[in-house]
Every structure is written in C-alpha cells, then in structure tokens.
Amino acid sequence: MIPLEHVLWLAMLQVSLGLAGLLLRRSGPVVVLAGILMLNGVLLAVAGLAANREGAPLQAPGVVILAHMVLLVLSGAAVAYAFERFRRPLNVDEHDRMKH
C-alpha cells in the first residue's frame, strides 16, 4: 500500500512543473503540453485519493475518467493542430488580444 502523502507529493510536483511551463514557456504547443502535464498531476491525485479511501479502496468514478479522457483528447487535438497549422514557431506572447 502506497501512502497517500507520497502520491500527493508526486502529483503536486507534476502540477507545479506544468504550471511553471504554462507561465514561463512561449511556444504554443509547449504551453498546451504544460496543461496536459497539470491534468496528469490532477489525475494522479484522484487515483491516490480513490486508492486510499477509508474502508475499501474505490475505483475512480466514471465521470472523472470520462472528463479526463475528453480533456486529454481535446488537448492532444490542440497540440496536433498547432504542429500542423503553425509550421513556423508560434509565440503565444504575440497573441495577446481577444480581437484583431
């Protein structure tokens, strides 16, 4: 049995790394990848909490899995689109207005 603290520490480190990438990187695809990394950290926390539930361990609820899958697929599609559409480097700092 893995203690919940260990899982939460790892999840926190992953989310922190993702947040750092989200704030510090300028490349469009990498910013989306940082979001995926944060999503993975949250997933890890959910898995740890479900496994360490008091009483009997629980499988993570289906709605959590579905939401995670939808978010992952959308993020993956965003990365794929960014790779395909923007052959030249995409700097997110240049796109700072809601309307052109």
């Binding site: 893995i2 790892l10 993702g18 993570a60 995670h68 899958m69």
Partner: protein, 158 residues
C-alpha cells in the same frame, strides 16, 4: 517494495516532465510528455486504479497512432529515415512491450467491477514491474537509435 517502485516510476515521470518543459523544441517535448503519461499509467495500475491506468495508456496509444498515421510522424519528429519503415530493435521492443501490456491488461478489464483483494496485488505488481522494464528498454534502445542517427547525420544532432 511498492513504494520503491512507485518512486522509480515517479522519478521517471518527473524527469521526463522536466525535460519536456525545458526543451526548446516542441516535438521532443511532446515525446518526453508521452513518457510521463506512460509512467503515470503505470502508477495508476500500481495504485490499483485499473480504469484510470488503462484510460491513460489507451489515450496515449491513440495519440501515438494518430500522430503516426495522419500527421506524418517522421517529419514532425525530425526522423528523416526515408523510404519504407524498417523493423529495428526499438520497434520490436515497443511491439513486444505493447503485447505484454495487452496480455496482462485484458484479463483485468474483464473483471474490473469485482472488489479486488490481496490476490490481485501480485498481478498488478507484475504489471507495474513489466511497465518499468518496458520503459527502460524503450529508453535504452531509443538512446541507441538517436546515437546511430547522429553518427549517420555527421553529428548534426537532429
């Protein structure tokens, strides 16, 4: 033992995540992040969260297939091998790892609703160890492939 395995996978995921966030080019960053996701899938399986673990691994596999099939993966990943794809040690080990994963995961999928007691822990532990060995095999063979290609390209590094 489980805690040691957990932290081995954790260090792999953190290392790959750090590499992904620090690398200047997006394509190697995406490759490193896929390693992070694979490690997270292994951790979910280690925690006994089969559905979450399988979901992560399935989305990862689907993403890799999509990249390969529709987006001309060779160009995106800057692997200019040219001609028809050939079998290499890395591909063979990747296919073998996928086959072992499926062989171990499909029986788990069939009775995922059953409350799992101590007798299931051994299978999960074996799966997680195999996941770790697969990751190491892929990493080592990948390193060999990159080194060979660098030598082929005259040390240009791409």
């Amino acid at each position: 033992m489980d805690v040691i395995l957990f932290w081995i996978l954790g260090v792999i995921t953190l290392g790959a995540a750090g590499f992904a966030m620090l690398h200047p080019r997006p394509a190697p960053a995406a490759t490193a992040l896929s390693l992070t996701m694979a490690g997270n899938g292994g951790i979910c399986l280690l925690l006994g969260q089969y559905l979450l673990g399988m979901e992560v691994l399935l989305v990862l596999a689907a993403g890799a297939l999509f990249l390969r099939a529709f987006m001309r993966g060779r160009e995106i990943l800057h692997i200019h091998t040219g001609g028809k794809a050939r079998w290499s040690l890395a591909r063979v080990s990747g296919v073998a790892a996928a086959a072992v994963f499926l062989w171990l995961l499909l029986p788990l999928l069939s009775d995922v609703e059953r409350p799992r007691l101590a007798e299931g822990a051994e299978a999960i532990s074996t799966t997680a160890w195999l996941a770790l060995l697969s990751l190491l095999t892929v990493a080592i063979t990948g390193g060999f492939v990159v080194r060979a290609r660098r030598a082929q390209n005259g040390g240009s590094g791409s």
